[in-house]
Symmetry: C2
Subunit: 406 residues, 2 copies
């Protein structure tokens, strides 16, 4: 008997009727002979509702209380899913993150899984039960409840698959797979039959709807991850390590887009060692991720230093940056929160120099100005005006021949 971990997203658990449908799918899987562990997200918009409640009480809600608050959403859908399974005659039990042994560090709001103690979970499996685990949450050694970040039920699922020795992790969503671009932006976007972990990681980090940490874990433990529809039986996308390199050679696999981008520029910074550290160290301590960093050529030992953060982090970041800027003698800080990030991703990129110039040409032909550029081995990213980002995605999707089924 083999073990499969299935994860169901909140849009597929929004009502009692939908939870019953999910329960029937789980039972069908169980009847095929596999053991099943199910990870659930919070029902529909319930997490957003809780966030809104909290914001009604405080403009800056305490992170520890926020995590305790938000963790209840997944516990609710877990208990309801287990009830539905039992009602349909399938023995089941739901576990909170703490009960499932998901131990994390103490970074509230974006905790990382530090250890898995799945003894209890394994015991329930051995009793032939479907175990439903509340996603998105864990517990510290001091019994404090933490959450792993928005969308991190994916990470719960892959971590459990790795820790329990599952043969596969199945992520069921309303999207139904990984596409060459967001189908809401590009009508002709194609579903990919499979994709490698590293390509998926770049897509996830740059706009595709999966929690990046889940892909990292999948790669680290070589867990194949199937992303498929929660609403039909259509084939999804398999994220794995065995993608045929011959077939993929010189190929862009997808175009990612992220509109949650803001740029901060610290003007006329002294061009000397230690300056970058003095700026980015306090940002890291404040829990703010810095993405693209560009330093202009030095003029008279002064340089402008630009970097991007999430738009949602901008206000918090500016407080830190303005304090540091003053202390290092910068005359000022400017910011722009109307930017977007557009990326092409594919393993082929690392071997062929032509992709970058084709990308820049394509954007130029559309009259889209490139504000910043950053690359990895398998990705090229341009920062453009937020208002032009979707046009950029469409043009790139066309230019790299992604409209034809692969």
């Amino acid at each position: 008997m083999e073990l499969v971990v299935q994860k169901y997203g909140g849009t597929s658990l929004a009502t009692a009727e939908q939870i019953k449908r999910v329960a029937r799918r789980i039972i069908a899987k169980r009847k095929s002979g596999d053991q099943v562990v199910v990870v659930v997200s919070a029902m529909g918009n319930s997490t957003s509702d809780l966030v809104e409640l909290a914001r009604g009480l405080s403009s800056n809600p305490d992170p520890r209380e926020m995590d305790l608050l938000l963790s209840t959403g997944e516990i609710v859908s877990g208990a309801l899913t287990a009830m539905a399974l039992k009602d349909l005659g399938c023995d089941s039990i739901s576990l909170t993150g703490a009960q499932a042994g998901i131990h994390t560090d103490t970074t509230f709001g974006r905790a990382r899984i530090a250890a898995l103690h799945p003894e209890r979970l394994q015991r329930e499996l051995n009793q032939d039960r479907v175990v439903v685990v509340a996603g998105f949450q864990g517990v510290t050694d001091e019994m404090e409840v933490t959450t792993l970040g928005r969308g991190a039920s994916d990470t719960t699922a892959v971590a459990l698959a790795a820790g329990l020795g599952a043969i596969r992790c199945e992520i069921y969503t309303d999207v139904g797979g990984i596409y060459t671009a967001d189908p809401r932006i590009v009508k002709k976007a194609q579903k990919l039959p499979d994709i490698s972990y590293d390509e998926m990681l770049e897509l996830a980090s740059y706009g595709a709807k999966m929690h990046p940490r889940s892909i990292e874990l999948g790669e680290m433990y070589q867990i194949p991850i199937l992303v498929a529809s929660a609403f039909n039986e259509n084939p999804g996308t398999l994220i794995h390590g065995d993608v045929d390199m011959m077939e993929l050679r010189n190929k862009v696999r997808g175009v990612a887009c992220d509109l949650n981008v803001a740029r901060i520029t610290v003007l006329a910074v002294p061009d000397q060692p230690g300056i970058a550290a003095s700026l980015f160290e306090p940002l890291a301590q404040a829990g703010i991720s810095v993405d693209v960093i560009v330093q202009n050529a030095s003029q008279e030992h002064l340089t402008d230093l630009s970097f991007t953060v999430a738009q949602t982090d901008l206000d918090k970041a500016l407080i830190v940056v303005e304090r540091v800027a003053k202390s290092i003698g910068s005359p000022g800080v400017v910011s722009n929160d109307h930017l977007g990030k557009v990326s092409i991703v594919g393993r082929g990129i690392q071997n062929a120099p032509g992709y970058a110039s084709q990308m820049f040409q394509t954007l130029y032909a559309e009259d889209i100005n490139i504000e910043m550029i950053t690359t990895s081995e398998i990705r090229i990213t341009c920062i453009v005006a937020e208002s032009q980002a979707h046009d950029a995605v469409k043009a790139l999707h066309r230019a790299f021949g992604l409209e034809e089924p692969s």
Copy 2:
């Protein structure tokens, strides 16, 4: 510095605005110099909403999952209350029942507190924090989440007051005190300035809105319990052990009413030892409380055995009773789920024989038939038709002179 435990009910925490109001009240208390532990119920109707969700999935939801589900309501209001306190500048932390060290037995749905391990809670208090505890819930030694029964946040509050050595437990509700009768039934009902534990226990068991276990605990540990309004500063009712007996002599303190009553009659039962045990033992095992028991005079070694259960337990009880009835040779079981319980309560009753006859006369004058009678030292209870119960309360309230302020 003395410690006070305050409990706020769900109707006073139904919206963000109300939670802010409660936070301001807590801060006012804190500023008077006392340490404060706050116990909260779930917001407004959120518990009923969760119950409804569960019933949409199963006509008989798994009790263990139900407890896990319902426990989230109090965790939500706890986290929100702590956020509100912090936002108003008052250091605070919320704890789940498990984090607060409330250990229970494993009777899901109506667990009893088995032990209190308040080390963590005490640590937070020592850091000068207002500690907000999710009411109504606890945890077993196996880390299973339990609930203590509907309305049992009162019990959480009194148990914490006892365990932490508080000088007083304050229960803030939408009713604002203990009345001589339910003010929704009797317009001229009077608020009592104080009442003894044992009288309150009878009132609570027979209709007044407090969890009986909380009164038992209050008496056991001699914790004075103030029941007062969450919405204004009017004086409430103090439940304590020092009620002046002279003043109360020969006095009925209140009229209680409970419409959640059903009667089961097992017909023609053999009148021999062991029969009652064979019936009530399996009911107890099924978690069903039996209240009034009446056995008719024996005729030819056969007797009818009647008893009452909560209407909400009737279906479950009948399954058990019908099985047992068959095995002991009873020709049948009949039931009536349209009954109500009306009680007069007061310490004075134990010394004066006139109260019972005055009660029966009053009901007779109103043309109300008495179906069953049961008494304790300080209470006389009549089972009447559900449709006449409110009229009975009104008549008794008048007859025993409870309309004048005490």
